[in-house]
Symmetry: D3
Subunit: 276 residues, 6 copies
């Protein structure tokens, strides 16, 4: 069960409202790199967690924190929209960022919400919950969470660099710090389960002798003849899980051309296909 | 530029066609854990790659390989659909898996494709390209790729366990092995760039002194008073990037209740809101 | 069966075409507050209507009218696009609303339709038919329709305030008036079925003695200790259906922490989860 | 800021796990009538609330409660999935509900989550946040909320009637009761603002003399000549806001056929269109 | 403006209701091959039609007819759902099509509509209006319409073959006939504009001397060396527009490897990318 | 299996980067008229092809070529984004196309990709794979492909007219030429199967005596009485398949008003519906 105290986790202050920045902030709310996604992702991972309880507790904890981040960002959007142009006449008036601000806005900020945030990204595309990764495999989920916090921190840095409003920079510097910790936290959970090498390959409960092991540590080169494959840590030397040796092999088919049966007479195909 | 030789990368053989398994296989084609996603993801990462060329080459290479996997799976779907029931009369007939097979099918396999694969998941939801993560940050992208290959291998293992068709098991054991390598490969790219610790926090080009460092390595506990936060590698000891020390702190707001301006008179709100 | 006379229900006149307003108008065509939604919603409610015929007739009638509104708005979009900039050179030319008009346009108006309307919203997001609410419960549907007409009228008012084109203002003043009536109409249907109090709780055919009645009229306060819950008509006094008394109760769990079984050995989880 | 105590708001107990019912329950999680939608809807309404604070507080309160409902339902899904068939061999075994249970399942419960809930509906379609209605108009939002709770309660009743598991019936009887209150609560907010009649037409801040008042209270009959329009509370008598008188008028166009300019020469049209 | 007479264009009769066939019929309502799509497509083409009026009139006419088809199919769905199982107990009972019918149903037919049609496809995916093709080029649109009617007729034939209900077969035989005509009709419009050859390449208003004409009639072979390209009408002989000669050429790049600038210092990339 | 040589099929050169044109180019990548769509469409048609092999080979060939086009366009987007404004300060600076360029950009080009292409359209809507038409009927698919190449060429022409960058014009003149050929190619496949007349009606394997032939070649007029139906090639004379004679008939219902059963007592309807 959940509770709130109505206060913001960190102060949200906008010195000079900018409705175009309000649009940009939407990416951190409803974008695939955003906070609705991580909140729901951690919640669903927690609610479906099978195995040791402490990981579930950690997920539930941070899911709950992420709600506070959506709240901060939504407040920031609303504050950036104060004084936004709402008519095509206002559009021509002068303002700090120059040009016709209205053109750069999310029009639903005017037409659909009356100057408030939406669960959409910076282009106005609504959040789609298929981005909630909760696989039932803890290591896969931790990786998904590191990914989410990495792209999230990249995004927050870009927003930080986009604005020169001191209040906005301060809020973002808090969110950036939290993303730093959250990257750590999910990787630490893998450490806690024995470390990355021991976790690989994910899932580590599948008996590797049942996979086609001759390609388990081979880089398959799909460049046409005469073009060298890229070399690096992946092309030779021991694999990262200590269970194999990297190699590079030429991409070559071992299968033949596929053959499908002709269409059945009553399957809605053309005569010319059925007869062959 | 791209080329094909019309052959399958690995043989695809179905001993006993099962149209319900055809539906399940769709998850590996058009699901968020599937092959269209990784193919497009690696392609877009490659096409937008800025920085050292070898990573771009590696991405391009493996993107091209993933096309061959979509091809294998699509062929497997078509072969599993041979002999599928196409009418409500056939539906009642006996078959190996018992019960009414048609009920378990993707109806578009009958109605829309005439017994062939679709770019959809196992519930019939079409692939949505918002799942292509290509952030412009190489480490974030490598993490996204490890995630994709982890959830992909978990999925392939579940499909392997779902079927007892020897041909299908063989094909899946190949794809599982390739996922093993691809997990390695993206992690090896991070090693190649200096290792995980050096890559953190992602992006590592943002000056950390500009973030609110007092919460950069702190686990924020959002459990209500009286409930202990989870302890583990994340709650104390040095951080994984060697730049901080983990701690646990109580979740407490430092911000106040947000205050928004009242709606403007002509903004489509109710009188009662405008007057306050 | 349906018929048309090719004429517009109300004159659509644009004195000074504005392609940015064309984009804004799209919200009223393909937005969630728009006319495609209500047309389809009323049609599907009508086609699935079970019970007295007069409500079905009313729905069918107004669904048909809404088609005429999509037509008016689509015409208005096309007329606002006459003379729109179509190249990056034209973009720099002067125009009435100042600045670079092309930047504020829906690019598909140029690239995909050749200066005509689309079934999309003002940010270019296509209409998604999941917004068609047709529940099979007449009172729930009437409420959904009042909602649609309320958000629709709010939108129309905002569009009215956004433009100063006399023709557009006139067209919108017609649509606003129709929304006035349609709000009335759906509420009148509830009156016709016995009134709002008698309709509650929706569905009124479920025996209330089967619900956990101790929380049927209780406001559950989820503020943490020490913060007062909001007071108003909902916190005390008789309920609006006359069947209970409002109260405020503290949010408190009566359930315990959920316990799920550990993952099965062959379910694609990590060893560390399976072993506990 | 938000907090949790890890406990369920109400006990969730499943006596006889049924994976097909797990699929049905998904509608109440990720369906348009479900709990993710109301949680996000009330949150976004609260975070964007302009005007008197008490409505914002009420919204924030109930949004927070709805999180607890998603949690209950997600737990119920996971518990209903214990023992679910995960292979096509198991599919043939006998079970309480007869027939091939696997066919009736959400395949992602097996393939994507390892037997846990998803933010999807009962057909496997992911939640789409465009269903979050937060208009900036308090009365419109309250109507949207009554709608959400009405379709939500209809859904909960149908789920209650679908199952005969005593634990599930008990959980649903709690959710049904909460929906009863929430319908009341949002209507009570309208009472609190002066009552429904005073709120109409929504938005009530638009001067009605600017709308085409001759059709503000008129039912437009779109039946072809010779078919009677439906009669009821909406066809005559005073309007519900006391500001007009209902009437029925024949549907007749006052506009003419629309005339668009021919395509421009370089607009990608056919010669035959350009030349006329 | 639009009108209705409440009657069905063609009788809809169901002798033996089958809720699984109700699900299948949804493909013809809300599928990409379905009637909502063609209705909206023809409407938007008509409302945006620039050039000779007769094509607009034809489009408007047939768009209006398509509404009557959605109506027929929605009625057919509702009739097929009479007597459908609505609980997991009913699920086990015997019925004509064998097995557990409920497993094969669209669950929203039970949970969301109370046994009525939805604007969704046969897998429960809602219609998405991005499928409305209205390009502003009349020949392109006519081709899109022939495509829609072709896939529509293929679908109708498959539904016809799926059922043995005489009423359903009769209704489908009507829709199949209409699709026959509509294929003709759109092709006839091309004839009316001068014929297919004259219409090509679409758009025919672009001066072909501005295209890279050396590849305008060349089949580019992307098979690797040693595999023969397919031969047919497209590989030699005069082109279908009489403006060129078909040939087959080897796929060979004329461009070099693309080179992008390194990431900017403040762009959120990794140090290792920026430094090269 | 697939291979690459890392080179571009045709040189991609940008003389003066324009980030607004980068946004426009996205339509040709991830729009419904774009290259991802045709690549996937031809691949899925090929992988599911039943009947003569040469059509499958042709499809596979051109699908592979289309990958090279996505690659060219993605490179063009990245090159147009070099020097793009990334902060609200840069936004005010002067540039060739005038005004505030940032307002016209796809914000995800800044925030999500670090100045690279995305699988989205020009409004930022991600590609949705439901646009992949692969019907199992070869003629229907060829028509779908002509449609794709027609709308694709219309789009390419509009992009050509939008820019005055010589490099971009050159690249587009190549893509336009390829679209010319691809329109030819799919029509040539129909010629190869016996010609268009013989292919009609699609599917031509359904016995036409089973359709309601009295309306198979009749234009149904849905204009209300007194308005003339449009006349043209479709209203009289022999049909295009030589199997019938065109006529125009009045739109008239042969069905009656539909009658649905009242809701069942436990179906979640209102009492007032159930009682009638």
């Amino acid at each position: 069960m959940y509770y709130t105290d109505k206060k913001l986790q960190f102060p949200v202050r906008v010195e000079k409202p900018n409705p175009v920045f309000a649009r940009a902030l939407q990416q951190a709310i409803g974008g695939v790199e955003g906070e609705i996604r991580v909140a729901l992702q951690y919640f669903f991972q927690a609610w479906g967690a099978r195995g040791p309880t402490k990981y579930r507790d950690m997920l539930l904890n941070t899911a709950t924190e992420e709600l506070s981040h959506i709240e901060m960002l939504s407040t920031a959007v609303a504050l950036n929209l104060e004084n936004a142009p709402m008519s095509l006449k206002e559009q021509v008036s002068e303002d700090a960022v120059g040009g016709s601000v209205l053109n750069g806005m999310n029009f639903r900020h005017i037409l659909s919400t009356g100057l408030a945030a939406l669960p959409e990204n910076s282009n106005g595309v609504p959040f789609n919950a298929s981005h909630v990764y909760a696989s039932g495999n803890l290591a896969a989920d931790m990786m998904a969470n590191v990914t989410a916090e990495s792209s999230g921190r990249v995004l927050a840095v870009r927003l930080y660099n986009m604005t020169d409003d001191p209040g906005m920079k301060e809020m973002l510097s808090f969110l950036i710090a939290r993303d730093t910790m959250h990257q750590q936290q999910w990787l630490a959970a893998i450490e806690d389960m024995g470390g990355l090498a021991a976790s690989l390959p994910i899932p580590n409960s599948f008996p590797q002798e049942q996979e086609q092991q001759y390609v388990s540590y081979a880089f398959v080169n799909c460049f046409v003849e005469g073009i060298d494959p890229p070399e690096g840590r992946w092309s030779s030397g021991p694999s990262l899980d200590g269970k194999g040796e990297f190699s590079t092999v030429a991409g070559e088919p071992t299968g033949s051309e596929p053959v499908l049966a002709p269409p059945r007479p009553d399957s809605g195909a053309q005569h010319e296909q059925i007869r062959g």
